[in-house]
Symmetry: C2
Subunit: 401 residues, 2 copies
């Protein structure tokens, strides 16, 4: 059995980012840049007004002075002439500062008539002018390769005049649930069987992490069926299987994939839930074999699959983000397996987070996993802790998982 | 001018959740349930084995006893007979506990031959048996209406045998950028003009918040064009405009929409950036008029549009989540407008968050907004604060915005 950290390190090391594709900027949200966004324009392109008001020469614009109105400059319609001494031009936010003017008289500080404006408050030189290039300059790298695009980044790339962006392709993840006992929701349930939940939960997790899931038909516990289904997934960037990863006679994934050229890296991890986890490669396709228990599969999804997706998508791939909380109950001493206790999160009277572990932690209990707001991390051989002790937790809410 | 809180309250009050639609479970991720998910099955459906091992009668299974192997029970293939005294059945995780057996002998605690198994450790009655209904029972409400579906919820709904879920329709949001001075990325830029960034940044924000954006062609500063474009958006759950919301002569959105039946609720908010904000209704369609400055538009997007989208999607709609941090620099006394300072976030040596405001806070600077990791909230008339003082911040990273 290897440690959680070592397993994640080996998984990340074996993966490379998907190749780049060009997408319309409008489709770039959440994708990771494969090439930097370098500005094609200077913003603002010239000195512009930051407010609605009057373009003036500050030397003239002292309180009480009357200036002759010689024109208007709405945004997008620059004033073609020059503002001479004693003159002003009506101007609007974002409009180019006309030749001759150096400052803006705010409209609320002015009294205007048809052909003149009286200065209500002396104007300071350069006031309310946004200088050319205040935001960014042509040729400047605005967004680096490897950055996951936010809505703000999309705005910035647009302002820099990029209709397209080069991003890593969304990782295609094949998902193969195995087992004679499982049926898809709404289909006939075999005797002694249950409804399959892993494939669609993992597909949603893949989508939440920015991947493109491909759910394969369920494979019965039969070497040939598993091998066939896995072959169908060779076009994927990653194949995820569930079930068949533990030590029983009916754990076929390893043996079924062997003749297809499966090369195992490791298959047991010192963690709970989720000890039986397969990592290897089927030809060129990396394979992550998750346990069949739904809680184990999803916890392994958070701990290993999300970082793997980040890496494939062009990010470094990191351990799930953790925060500190206080244990809501005493915690028992841990054994040698890294434990992930399902817990609710509350805010205590002093504002501190309190993580309250559920009393039953069975790895088949999907209902408690769905209600969990956090996983309390218990390192191998962690000592017993009293209630109120500091613990590290993975908050699940923000992940959409 | 009304307060930020009052504006958000009035916006949320005026909106209703979209009607329900039925979607395949696989498409339900991130959607908000319009009807509860009630389990159609009991899980597990009968007592099952929690481990790989041997189904035994605990009364027989004392250390050193030899039990006759009378059959095998893989998951999905229940053993048809009964486990009698002195007998055992090979069993695998998830398989039904055979008649007569009451406990599981772990395979690592057993020494098996072809037709018998020797008990290596005395078995406690009921050990490693998952009782029928341990996870949930038929008829139990597992997920309530109004819940946004996580990947774990998708798994739970699948396990409860639901191939479909009833969710609120993704809110359709029309986005109308106005202005003679703006051009879409890659298109010819008019003299004195700039590249439009608001529409696509807001579309990405809508997508990040679970909505369905409809980007309308840019409307020039001309009443008829704006009115026409707005009419095209009547099929939307919300129309968002940008630009044309302030007090200048060229701020046409209000006047253009008036003849189309626009009913104004309010149009100025005591906040920075983003004072000129229009809220009203065009026939049946709510209209949110955002300022044209890209930073103002996106900050108003975080503060008002995201809660509005939550409300339309079937959630209550809430102020953005905040956390406490320490000011990285002294902060000046605030005026009467609620301020949102763009800031980076660092972790101090003691683990506390430090929010470092950018030195220039101009509302045209999209680059600094894109680099901001948080908005520092400064309430109206907030007193000056020294560096290190506690401040409330909106972290932007987790929002995808």
């Amino acid at each position: 059995m290897i440690s959680v950290e070592e397993a994640r390190r080996r998984i990340l090391q074996a993966l490379s980012p998907t190749p780049a594709e060009t997408v319309p900027l409008a489709s770039g949200w959440g994708r990771v840049l494969a090439r930097p966004v370098v500005s094609r324009v200077t913003q603002p392109p010239a000195d512009v007004s930051a407010m609605d008001g009057y373009a003036v020469r500050a030397a003239d614009a002292t309180e009480g002075t009357r200036l002759a109105l010689v024109g208007t400059a709405p945004a997008g319609h620059p004033f073609a002439g020059t503002v001479g001494p004693g003159q002003a031009v009506r101007i609007f936010t974002g409009a180019l500062l006309p030749e001759g003017a150096d400052s803006i008289l705010l409209q609320e500080d002015a009294e205007a008539s048809a052909d003149a404006v009286v200065v209500g408050e002396t104007v300071r030189q350069g006031r309310w002018v946004r200088r050319r290039g205040l935001d960014f300059a042509e040729g400047e790298t605005l967004l680096s390769a490897g950055r996951r695009l936010t809505a703000r980044d999309i705005g910035l790339a647009a302002a820099a005049n990029h209709p397209w962006v080069a991003v890593h392709r969304a990782p295609r993840v094949g998902i193969l649930a195995t087992g004679d006992e499982i049926a898809l929701p709404g289909e006939p349930i075999p005797p002694g069987g249950i409804v399959s939940s892993n494939a669609h939960a993992l597909a949603a997790l893949v989508r939440a992490a920015g991947g493109d899931p491909l759910v394969l038909p369920i494979a019965p516990d039969d070497s040939r069926a598993i091998a066939e289904a896995a072959t169908a997934a060779r076009a994927c960037d990653l194949l995820v299987t569930t079930g068949g990863a533990s030590v029983g006679d009916h754990d076929l994934v390893q043996s079924a994939l062997g003749p297809e050229g499966f090369a195992l890296d490791f298959w047991q991890i010192a963690m709970r839930p989720g000890k039986p986890l397969i990592w290897g490669r089927l030809g060129a396709t990396p394979v992550l074999g998750l346990p069949g228990n739904p809680v184990s599969a999803l916890v392994c999804g958070v701990v290993f699959l999300v970082p793997a997706l980040q890496r494939l998508a062009g990010l470094p791939g990191e351990a799930p983000r953790t925060v500190m909380a206080r244990a809501g109950t005493p915690l028992a001493e841990n054994d040698r397996r890294f434990d992930h206790l399902r817990a609710s999160l509350e805010t205590g009277p002093d504002g501190a987070l309190i993580a309250m572990p559920f009393p039953v932690q069975d790895s088949s209990m999907l209902k408690t996993l769905a209600r969990a707001e956090a996983l309390i991390l218990r390192a191998p051989h962690a000592p017993a802790l009293p209630a109120g002790a500091a613990v590290e937790v993975i908050p699940l809410g923000a992940l959409g998982i």
